[in-house]
């Protein structure tokens, strides 16, 4: 029933429209600059709203627990993914490390979509989950690089970890920055800018997911690097990660909605910050593999099924 609600939500239907249009090889495309503008808008909006909520609720022990759980998940999930990608996926160490980093990190749009869908079903996650989202972006990059380079002496020479790029990447800056602005401004300061950042939010998300549908389908069709094993892993890994995330969230005492959201964060795979970091730090890893898996398979899977699955799981064990 919940999945039906999800599938008839305009947000998801626009994603499907984009996917279908690209599959039909339509020339429909969203201008890049507009897509990037929407992604900045969406991040600023969730950062602000999260900050305002935290300004209202204050920082509690639950917040600390969620933050630690998120950090730990982002650090450790790549280890499992790496093993699966090496054994079952047959990837080289470098490729497996790069892909694993994607699965440990998170997808902002998956988070945003989940927040909208869950809120629409009366299951809105806590405001501080935005901070957890931001915290989970980078640790996985470090574990992924460590996995890729383990026992490899000349790896650390030329291509050292791009710390600076990773810590100041655009999505971290804007998420953290607008989260802090939200805290400083509070409800009163937020009121005059609320019409743009709150009222218009869902509509923009529709158009953004239209674009993501186009991008995901095109990536899938144009890739020459995918095989059945990799496609399966791009579904198995998020399912596993999502289950672990939801479980950990429930364990550390989060409410049902926030535990489900932690599961969705764990299940989601980065396709913005991590690919850029991997291109810099592991230039020998093949972008065709990590982008096709995270964007072409895992993203659609999470949007259409994952959100409902982990929400149901969180309710069952919550």
């Amino acid at each position: 029933m919940m999945i039906i609600d999800t599938l008839t939500s305009p947000v998801i239907l626009f994603f499907v429209l984009g996917f279908v249009a690209a599959a039909l090889k339509s020339d429909l495309s969203i201008p890049e600059a507009f897509a990037k503008a929407m992604s900045i808008y969406l991040m600023a909006a969730i950062g602000l709203k999260g900050g305002v909520e935290v300004a209202n609720s204050g920082v509690t022990a639950e917040v600390a627990a969620a933050a630690l759980a998120g950090l730990a998940l982002s650090f450790l999930l790549p280890v499992i993914a790496f093993a699966l990608l090496r054994q079952f996926g047959g990837l080289s160490k470098v490729d497996a490390g790069a892909v694993a980093a994607h699965y440990g990190s998170v997808s902002v749009v998956t988070f945003v979509t989940a927040k909208e869908i869950l809120t629409g079903q009366g299951l809105g996650p806590a405001g501080y989950m935005v901070a957890v989202l931001a915290l989970m972006e980078t640790p996985a990059i470090i574990s992924g690089l460590m996995l890729a380079r383990r026992g490899d002496k000349d790896a650390s020479e030329k291509s050292s970890t791009p710390w600076h790029e990773v810590l100041t990447n655009a999505s971290v800056m804007i998420l953290v920055g607008s989260f802090i602005i939200g805290i400083v401004a509070g409800s009163d300061g937020f009121a005059p800018i609320k019409p743009l950042f709150d009222t218009g939010f869902r509509g923009v998300l529709c158009l953004f997911l239209l674009d993501m549908g186009l991008i995901a389908a095109r990536r899938l069709m144009q890739s020459r690097k995918m095989n059945l094993r990799l496609v399966s892993l791009a579904i198995v890994i998020p399912s596993l990660n999502g289950a672990i995330g939801t479980f950990v969230g429930t364990l550390v005492g989060l409410d049902v909605a926030s535990a489900a959201t932690l599961g969705i964060l764990a299940a989601s795979a980065s396709y913005i910050a991590v690919p850029a970091a991997m291109r810099l730090a592991l230039p020998k890893a093949d972008p065709g593999i990590y982008l096709s898996m995270s964007l072409g398979v895992t993203f659609p899977f999470n949007i259409i099924f994952g959100i409902s699955i982990f929400a149901a799981f969180a309710k069952a064990i919550g």
């Binding site: 990037k36 992604s39 095109r218 913005i272 690919p275 230039p283 972008p287 982008l291």
Partner: protein
């Protein structure tokens, strides 16, 4: 008549996230000027692509630099080992320039 001199026109097609690395290489061999041109889409052995700017990682860019022959040779030496892993394509053409002392 106005004097022109021969220089090399270097065109480097490279993954957008790696542009700073390429620029660093240019500076390392003392090529002090460059211009960056956006590439919209393309295709090659690894399939076709369009810039989507959301996942910037797969977009390509052209770094254009005019330089003397000596500096160009230096650049080739420095950049050749990176060509494969950086997914680069490097072409060098001959051009005449005005105010050649700048390059």
């Amino acid at each position: 008549m106005i004097q022109t001199v021969s220089r090399k026109r270097i065109e480097i097609l490279v993954d957008t996230p790696l542009v700073p690395r390429v620029v660093a290489q240019l500076k390392a061999v003392d090529i002090s000027g460059w211009s960056v041109i956006h590439v919209d889409s393309g295709g090659g052995r690894a399939g076709e692509w369009q810039d989507d700017d959301v996942t910037g990682a797969s977009a390509k860019t052209i770094v254009l630099a005019i330089a003397s022959e000596t500096k160009t040779s230096g650049l080739i030496e420095a950049i050749a080992p990176l060509l494969d892993s950086y997914g680069m394509l490097l072409t060098i053409g001959d051009v005449q320039v005005l105010r050649g002392e700048r390059f």
